[in-house]
């Protein structure tokens, strides 16, 4: 089966991490809404699983979270590719050791925000003609009314909003990675990074 092939070689714990990652995405987003914060915070789980288990499991978390979110808000489906890329990018950055230092972790918010902001804006323009749902659309609408053309307005609105979203996201990821017991890292595919070992030392 394709699913089995996709997660083969990622160890036994990965399959149990994926549902937790999905739940973290979901609950993080709900909690941001509950506190009425102007950010989504709905990709913490994707990045977390990407950083501990690898890019492919991270991408799976992103994809499934997206499908589940689409049940209540189908326009979200159009942005599924973003979640998948967040997962892949997190896996790649983790292998480079980015999540080991706080400064590098903070800087990693920039590539995440560029994917989310630029690609998100392009998708909004392609699929929804520039006006999707959500708080961002109101800003875009206001900017067009202020005289910007709709494409510029999308980029102007989405890139800063995504930086605002990804900085706390990567900070939570960093805090959780710091707090995870070493015992768990020993069982995770990318755990060796956080234990300061070479690949293959832990499996």
């Amino acid at each position: 089966m394709s699913f089995d092939n996709a997660i083969q070689g990622y160890g036994r714990l990965t399959i149990f991490m994926i549902p937790i990652g999905i739940a973290i995405n979901f609950v993080g987003g709900q909690f941001a809404l509950l506190l009425k914060l102007p950010v989504y915070l709905d990709s913490i789980g994707t990045i977390l699983v990407g950083a501990t288990c690898g890019g492919i499991p991270g991408a799976i978390v992103g994809a499934i979270s997206n499908v589940l979110n689409s049940i209540t808000s189908p326009p979200t489906m159009a942005f599924g590719i973003l979640s998948i890329m967040f997962g892949l990018l997190a896996g790649w950055l983790a292998k480079k050791g980015v999540f080991l230092s706080l400064t590098k972790t903070l800087l990693s918010a920039i590539p995440f925000a560029l994917i989310g902001g630029v690609l998100g804006a392009i998708l909004t323009i392609w699929i929804f003609g520039g006006l999707a749902v959500g708080g961002g659309a109101l800003v875009v609408g206001a900017l067009t009314a202020a005289g910007f053309d709709i494409n510029t307005a999308n980029f102007l609105a989405q890139v800063p909003m995504d930086i605002l979203d990804k900085v706390p996201t990567v900070l939570v990821v960093y805090a959780i990675l710091k707090g995870m017991p070493k015992r768990i890292f020993a069982k995770l595919p990318l755990g060796y990074i956080y234990l300061g070992k070479r690949p293959g030392a832990a499996a």
């Binding site: 699913f3 149990f16 994926i18 209540t72 006006l131 939570v172």
Partner: protein
Amino acid sequence: MIRDINPIIAFLVLGCLAIIPIWITGLTAPLIMCAVFVAISLLAGVGRQFIPGYLKLFLAVGFILFILRAAFEPGSHVLFTLGPLTPTLEGAIGGARFALVVMVLCGALTLFAALMPAKYLMLALEEHGLTPRATYVLLSSLQAITDLGRNVRVVMDAQKSRGIETEGSIFTRSKAFFPIIAPAFLTAMTQTEERAVALDARAFNSKTAHTRLAFFRRPRLWEYVLLAIAFAGVVLAIVGAALSWL
């Protein structure tokens, strides 16, 4: 009876119904389809779960989509001017159509979720050869969302009692985010280890075919007829649209 339909057939039928209005211009087709979904939910006895949620979606998603399009799409028939906003007739009609088509797609998805418990769908997919590992991931995600949501509330109450404020200015509220979310998520990640051991003990990773307690009956003939009608509807809509373009 509707709820006894094989989950995969139900999914395909609803999917066909949802995409028919895409090829029919005008506002009537998507409106009728929304009404059809409401009727199906009433017939199946899930109206109570489906209709309030669907109305909420209409207000939260459909209405906003409509307003945004109506307010910002350019057109020549200006309805009225409100500050910098000039809603046009074209924008209003285009917005209404776009919002309704999106609402039809929303309706099909939420109706399916109301009709079919997720575990039936997963069982049906397993019968069609999906690996139990994939269905485990999907089902346990749904469970984990409920569990983690409950844990976050517990941690929130605990932190509140220690004096962390969750209301007030935006700065106060964002300060509450870390001390609540981080411990809850951390616990969830570390608990996976126990879960892995527990499921290993139940032969989750065994390569032999799994046994089960519940089985589906074979889909009846009328279920296939229903699917054929829905599919014919899509073909008709596409052919009709293609003819009108020629």
